[in-house]
Subunit: 344 residues, 3 copies
Amino acid sequence: MKVSDIARLIGASVNGNAEAEITGIGKIEDAKPGEITFLANPKYQRYFETTRASAVIVSEDFKSKRTDLTLLRAKDPYVAFVFALKALIPPPEPLSAGVSPVSYISPKAVVGKDVRVGAFVCILDNAKIGNGVKISHGSVVGEDVEIGENSLIYPNVTIYQGCKLGKNVTIHSGTVIGSDGFGFAPKEDGTYEKIPQLGIVVIEDDVEIGSNCSVDRATFGETRICRGVKIDNLVQIAHNVVIGDNTVIAGQSGIAGSSKIGKNCVLAGQVAIVGHLEIADHTTVAGKSGVSKSITEPGKIFFGIPVKEMHEARRIEGAMRMLPKIIEEFSELQHKVEKLINKE
Amino acid sequence: MKVSDIARLIGASVNGNAEAEITGIGKIEDAKPGEITFLANPKYQRYFETTRASAVIVSEDFKSKRTDLTLLRAKDPYVAFVFALKALIPPPEPLSAGVSPVSYISPKAVVGKDVRVGAFVCILDNAKIGNGVKISHGSVVGEDVEIGENSLIYPNVTIYQGCKLGKNVTIHSGTVIGSDGFGFAPKEDGTYEKIPQLGIVVIEDDVEIGSNCSVDRATFGETRICRGVKIDNLVQIAHNVVIGDNTVIAGQSGIAGSSKIGKNCVLAGQVAIVGHLEIADHTTVAGKSGVSKSITEPGKIFFGIPVKEMHEARRIEGAMRMLPKIIEEFSELQHKVEKLINKE
Amino acid sequence: MKVSDIARLIGASVNGNAEAEITGIGKIEDAKPGEITFLANPKYQRYFETTRASAVIVSEDFKSKRTDLTLLRAKDPYVAFVFALKALIPPPEPLSAGVSPVSYISPKAVVGKDVRVGAFVCILDNAKIGNGVKISHGSVVGEDVEIGENSLIYPNVTIYQGCKLGKNVTIHSGTVIGSDGFGFAPKEDGTYEKIPQLGIVVIEDDVEIGSNCSVDRATFGETRICRGVKIDNLVQIAHNVVIGDNTVIAGQSGIAGSSKIGKNCVLAGQVAIVGHLEIADHTTVAGKSGVSKSITEPGKIFFGIPVKEMHEARRIEGAMRMLPKIIEEFSELQHKVEKLINKE
């Protein structure tokens, strides 16, 4: 691929040899002639002086002293590099073309064009599968489920009855969409009566969900994962939760029932959000934290169990480390004061 | 359905029009004429004055000023409402009738009457499947497994060899029953020798287990989930654990090997219980807590890592928030005392 | 089996009747005549005086007053007992012989001798399956995957394209090997661009991974689980992580991207390791801890969020429990000092 082709693809302007042929990609410190690399983090600037790459994606205002290097100037060099990467090294097809003869597709299901279906897949009554959808081996698509265009379901996924997935949704293996919310009414004798979970899960366009996640259906209405949300592995999303647009949730986090997470939030790994809370947009919760109250002010960073704002959590953590010594000194001080009092 | 029919079903007495036809259900603030609703939480009492519902399930001693409303008086209005809900809006069948022709059932398996088997299900040698059991698509029922009457296995569940499930058990997708307990003997060279896990898992009647849980088989004997236990998603139950009757375990909690949880306990989300402990009946453990010692006194509430009783944990949390300020003041006080001493 | 046969098998010397026939195993307090037991933990020594077992595996330097008991002297009595156990009570075969006719094996896959394949298994193009491998019902083996000799894949496992498993590897049900690493580049408009995950997962010989784990493929290169590693259930291993030889990871722990765990480490349950760290060999991390900095000195024990060395964490925990009382006393002391100052 020519430098000029890549530049067009990633929306970059070229300084240097637009006709150079690029055959691969590399890290700035390792790249070989013929390869393209990028420079986004100033920490790596020192490698720029010596890189052997044929082309480097840099920021629009980057100043270079090297005249032998072809530069592609882009607004965000890292994102531009990701696009270049996808063009130069297309990832392997996750599922080969066609519909496996050893799958079960209900005659009442509606299946679009260019749909790929793996072996031992089960697509049940009245499911609607959009054009270009890929459903991999061993996955189960329940009755009345809708899957939008170009979505990709990896192997051994289960989607329960009635759930709705948008376009360009990716679901990794072992994930379960639409299992029953955890709702039981306590009875006088100590046993529980199951509360039927009659709602569904709605997953909007461009969502990606990792492997072995559980997203529960609503008691009534919907559990909703909004557009562009990215969820890592082993995450629990309880019934009636709403996750706002473009929020990112790292591995092993859990959101309890009916909580509403804002847009563009970041939950790090092993975070817990208690039920029935609202979390403001652009909130960041650090790893292993537990959020037990709503967060109303957007854009803040939290840590701890229960969470405090990060700077307060750090001050408390620092104080705690001093505490054993303080307690010793405190005991000494008590003695000194008693001595002073006794002397009077 | 007539009000009188619902009243009989839920064990309520009627004040008002027992012949009124009920066609749906609604929240007390939203319900329309023809719908039934309930009032259990006093917080919602204000909606009672204005609700448009045709009938309201209330407590036996509820005092109403409205004469236009039909009341159904029940011991526990919420539980009564759940029963009414189930009668009025039966949840969709989780699996259609019959045995899928694209399933594998060993000729040595014993299968009861009215059993439903989904596509690509695997039922192995000597499995015993009770009457009315439903085993959904892609699930695997191992050799010698027993499943009691009317139990429901959702898709892509795996039940290992020899495990025993009671009646009316529900297992959600992705859950694994009977995987090997985590047992390895350390050897002198730093490697480990696997300890064979020869026991089974026993799940008693009326248990429900969520999606993507792992319940390990015992080293010898049994891992046992007692009658009426309810387990949420992504929960880990290690080998030789016993969970007492009607205990509730929320999402992403884990119980380490050989621990014995009492009856009617509540473990909130992301709780950990260390191995070889005993937890008394009616214990509540708040979310994200870690229990590292046995709890002998029943009926208490715990929080923290490691847990303290809730009121103590709260006092410590309050003190910790004051700590940075206290340390400042302490340093001042030290100076004051030094001054006093020097003046003498 | 004769005592002498067992002794040869477990590398023990015999004091007593080497010809005695052993028919079973038992705990030292319960064992019956004809059974073999072991004594490793001094806590159980008192049972030695009264055990009815026919033979006891003891340490090489164990001193016995009983002349009626046959002793098998071994370097590590517990490990020796595990070997005896395996010989006397072989665990049931996890998968019956042969290749199920209701499986799909690509004609381009290379399958060794004595391979067992369960029902509804899917083995895709160019997969290489070593001699003696067992792949159980409903599992999916992706394109170009390699599985070494005598490895055992339980039901409903998913192995993504290109991943490599060594010899004698065991993977329990629901586990996913090779799902995409969690990599997304933030764009100016708040949405994310997916970073393709082009690497693989390599699992070396003698690794065992529990049920419902997620092991993500690398962005480039490899995620690597080294020889002899043992992983419990519901564990998250992110992209580009390396787990050193013989490290043990308990249930629900998670290792974030690019972290490198040393050899012979022990991570207890629900531990989190932040990304891009290095953890020294022989490190132990106690349950529910969060490691946010690299650990450079080998052989230490850590606890807390964030972790401190265990003895420090214990001192801080003790101090915290005293804190509410200290704060009261501190306030009193402040008053006393003010009084002293005012008197001057």
